[in-house]
Amino acid sequence: MWAGIIFSLRQELIVTGIIFLLLFIKVRATEYKTGVLLNLVNLLLLVNFVLGFFGCQDAALFNGMFHTNKLLVLEKNMLNLGTLIISLQAYDWLKGHRQVLEFYLLLLATLVGFFFMISAGNLLMFYLGLELSTIPLAALSSFDLEKRRSSEAAMKFIMSSAFSSALLLFGISLLYGATGTLGFDTIAQRLDGSAFQLFAFILILSGFAFKISVVPFHLWTADVYEGSPVTVTAYLSVISKGAVFFVFIQVLYTIFKPLAGNWYRILVLLSILTMVTGNLFALRQDKLKRLLAFSSIAQSGFILAGITGSSRTGDASVIYFILVYIFSNLGAFGVVSLISAQTGKESIDDYKGLYATNPLLSWIMAISLFSLAGIPPTAGFFGKFFLLMAGAGKGNYVFIGIAALNMVISLYYYLRVIKAIFMDSQPEPIGKLKIPLLPNIAFLVCVAGIIMTGLMGWIYDYIYSLSIGF
């Protein structure tokens, strides 16, 4: 019995184990080498990633509070991989930072929170997991301790998170009042689409919308992304968003399946609003972090378009896209992070003439941006194609047309960055930068992921074989 529990919970347990290890080091050791510590954490995360590939049984633990299956293990593994990449990329920045231990404590706490949230079989468990990840995230965003903007970002983040959590909690309690249960499987049977239930649903939806920065709940995103350290911004925009999307789609496809007719129209509207707003704001940004923030809002809109498909293709396309998104966005953020750590430059104008001095970094950036824009042969093309294809399954071609148009708009601002890097020049371009070993490995993983994920169709086939829909 214990063996079964341990095996089902292995991903959570390993990450928790790392947290405890770090805590012991913090309490007991008076002196430690930062480099060794960083390598140790990365190694353990890698072990966790590898172990995630071993098969698992479907299981429901603790009276259905926690359940696991192949799909969930895969999703957690994707998040784990993303965290590992971020951790590798942050090597430079962390090595010079005073509070490395605390950084990892907080980071891994959020990861455990996401793991539990994804595996939740009960709204209470889900909320617990979400909060476990939200509060450390706020602390993380103020991790540039000397910068005022960073504290400001943390403040904004904690306020908006608290607000969205409150909405979510209110919705959950109303739903409990309406159905008398919190279990995922039982709620679905007791939904009849009454006005009261719809109200509860709308509140829950708004709570989610905050977390995945869907317009009109996106206002915190740009400021928080800009103020936080680049590493944390990357984590927020990829891991945090990906995790919430995983749960969101599960909640919609299982609990709220009876209300599909209602949420379909809401999601179409939100998707259009999000894409258009994100793209239009991204057009005029001069700071790369803000540009990536708005582009990540726009990407949320595309993911919503995939969710509206409400078929197995929809589920598979969303999970596949998030995998692709992890590689492409982290590739881009990795470059920004490296340049920011070594030179402190973060605006698009600073990137002018980058190709002359740093061809490798320029190509990594270009490939990542092409993937974000959805240009073949990068994986982003396949990701976007499948999302919109799933969305088109409902036959709403006006919606898909608007989405396709948005892909053209988004190409403009990605190309602006490409233009600055490859075509423009400036008197004092960024000098030749040294890429340390670990970030280099991270870049290799990202680029390989961007190129291979699309061309190797079996990855999608595998995700599809696990996905759900109706």
Partner: protein
């Protein structure tokens, strides 16, 4: 023959180029890759004739299928018929010439050749695809290399042109994308399995309302690539800002992707809608022909002259497709190939002139025939082909389009044909004026006297393209025989529906 080789050879060459040391290595590796590709293409033509002579009457030869995304029924599926082979030959010829004329590229030579080769891999893949997903994949592959080629190595308002081209072509792709999804979901009933396999879609005979709904998306989407009238504005800017090799590729091949798509995807799969929309297509094509010709008359820059005349000439392609008679469509395909060769030769000659005189303005040029006889000769050949001189490919293509168009009865169609014919006079005006002023007469600037004629690589490029033009012009039947079976399939399909 394994058709994937045709995509792999340029890709491998592009990667090999990146690992080369020194500019000379880069040049020779690229040239070797392009030459292998050219030989492969001719080998493919020979094999195709051999198969056909042996009595193999399958619509597509050398088919190869491999699963790509099985749950969505998406396959990597390639195969060729006469039309694809003709387009592949064109691409291989133009690429070989483009690499030869780029010999003098110095800044970032490695990247230039790699991007050019990568671009061509996309075009080969596009012409080979039998699955609409594969086709769309290769169509979009080519957008970004063009952007970089123009933006980094271009001249004039290159930033603006590159961005405009990328966005407009991406817009075209977006329209194509919607059309493809519409086709996909209308196959296989409500629950599927849906398919992207175009031969199967053609057999299914989609319902008329589906065709009416999605034909405009596909036709206009592909039409943007081939300068469909109100959406042609990327052509003059893009072509004239691009470096020579990129201009050759853009006008010679990239615009043909659109024509090929219009014919193969839009018209072939949706014949009912094609018939219904054909007056609109013909109207737009006629406007493009006449407007393009008049606009060319006003240009002073040689590259702009060729770019605007491309709009006019690509109008003939759309006119032929819109007329929907067998002869007109054959003419349209011949025009694609003829225009591809001719415009590539034209841009090559303009590039050579510009490299030497550092100007492309007609008013500043003069008497070049005395100084650089070879370049002037190919310049004149390209010009005469453009105005449709018998014996060159332009004549064959245009006369076929006109004859085919005349077969379509109806006052409006007759009028369009007459207007299109009349545009040749305007073509003659601007071509003769431009060539006369820059080639003949006294040398306009004494500094030009010391300029050298074409180098060996430029001569080879000129001879290759010129030979193609003359081969089609003198003996057009081998080409129309090659095309006959593919066009026959399209026409049979249209007749069954009728």
């Amino acid at each position: 023959m394994n058709l994937s080789l045709l995509v792999l050879v340029p890709l491998i060459t592009a990667i090999a180029v990146l690992f080369c040391r020194g500019l000379n290595g880069v040049r020779w590796v690229s040239l070797a890759g392009a030459s292998v590709q050219l030989l492969l293409s001719f080998g493919l033509l020979a094999l195709y004739w051999k198969e056909r002579a042996a009595g193999n009457s399958a619509a597509m030869l050398f088919e190869y299928r491999h699963t790509w995304f099985l749950p969505l029924n998406i396959w990597y599926h390639v195969g060729v018929d006469g039309i694809s082979i003709a387009m592949i030959l064109l691409t291989a010829l133009v690429m070989e010439a483009a690499i030869l004329v780029s010999w003098s590229i110095r800044t970032m030579g490695k990247e230039f050749f790699a991007l050019l080769l990568f671009l061509s891999a996309g075009a080969y893949g596009f012409f080979l695809s039998l699955d609409l997903f594969t086709l769309f994949f290769f169509l979009e592959v080519s957008v970004i290399p063009k952007f970089l080629l123009i933006g980094v190595w271009g001249s004039g308002r290159k930033d603006y042109s590159a961005m405009k081209l990328a966005l407009m072509l991406m817009g075209g792709s977006a329209l194509v994308f919607i059309g493809l999804l519409g086709l996909y979901y209308s196959t296989g009933g409500a629950t599927g399995p849906h398919t992207f396999d175009w031969q199967r879609i053609a057999q299914m005979q989609l319902p008329a309302e589906v065709q009416r709904k999605f034909f405009p998306f596909l036709f206009v989407g592909f039409g943007i690539f081939t300068a469909l009238f109100p959406l042609h504005t990327w052509v003059p800017d893009g072509h004239s800002s691009a470096p020579t090799a990129a201009s050759m590729f853009l006008a010679g091949i990239s615009m043909k992707l659109g024509g090929y798509g219009c014919l193969r995807v839009a018209v072939y799969l949706m014949p009912i809608a094609a018939r219904e929309y054909s007056p609109v297509i013909i109207l737009l094509a006629t406007i493009a022909i006449v407007y393009g010709a008049f606009a060319t008359m006003m240009q002073k820059d040689l590259k702009y002259i060729n770019a605007y005349s491309s709009i006019s000439h690509c109008g003939f392609i759309l006119l032929g497709i819109g007329m929907l008679t067998r002869t007109a469509i054959t003419g349209a395909v011949i025009q694609m190939i003829s225009h591809g060769l001719m415009t590539a030769l034209f841009f090559a000659a303009i590039g050579m002139i510009y490299d030497r005189t550092h100007t492309r303005l007609v008013a500043q040029l003069g008497g070049l025939l005395k100084i650089m006889p070879f370049i002037s000769t190919i310049f004149v050949i390209a010009g005469l082909c453009s105005l449709g001189l018998p014996g060159l490919s332009g004549f064959v293509a245009e006369i076929t389009v006109f004859m085919g168009s005349w077969q379509r009865a109806g006052e409006m169609y007759r009028l369009a044909t007459v207007l299109a014919c009349a545009s040749i006079v305007i073509t003659a005006v601007y071509i003769l004026r431009a060539t006369g002023k820059s080639i003949m007469g006294p040398v306009s600037d004494p500094q030009y006297n010391g300029l050298a004629d074409a180098t060996w690589n430029e001569k080879l490029a000129g001879i290759l393209l010129g030979a193609g033009i003359i081969a089609i012009g003198v003996a057009p039947f081998w080409l129309s025989d090659l095309l006959a079976s593919g066009i026959g399939a399209i026409m049979d399909h249209a007749i069954i529906i009728k």
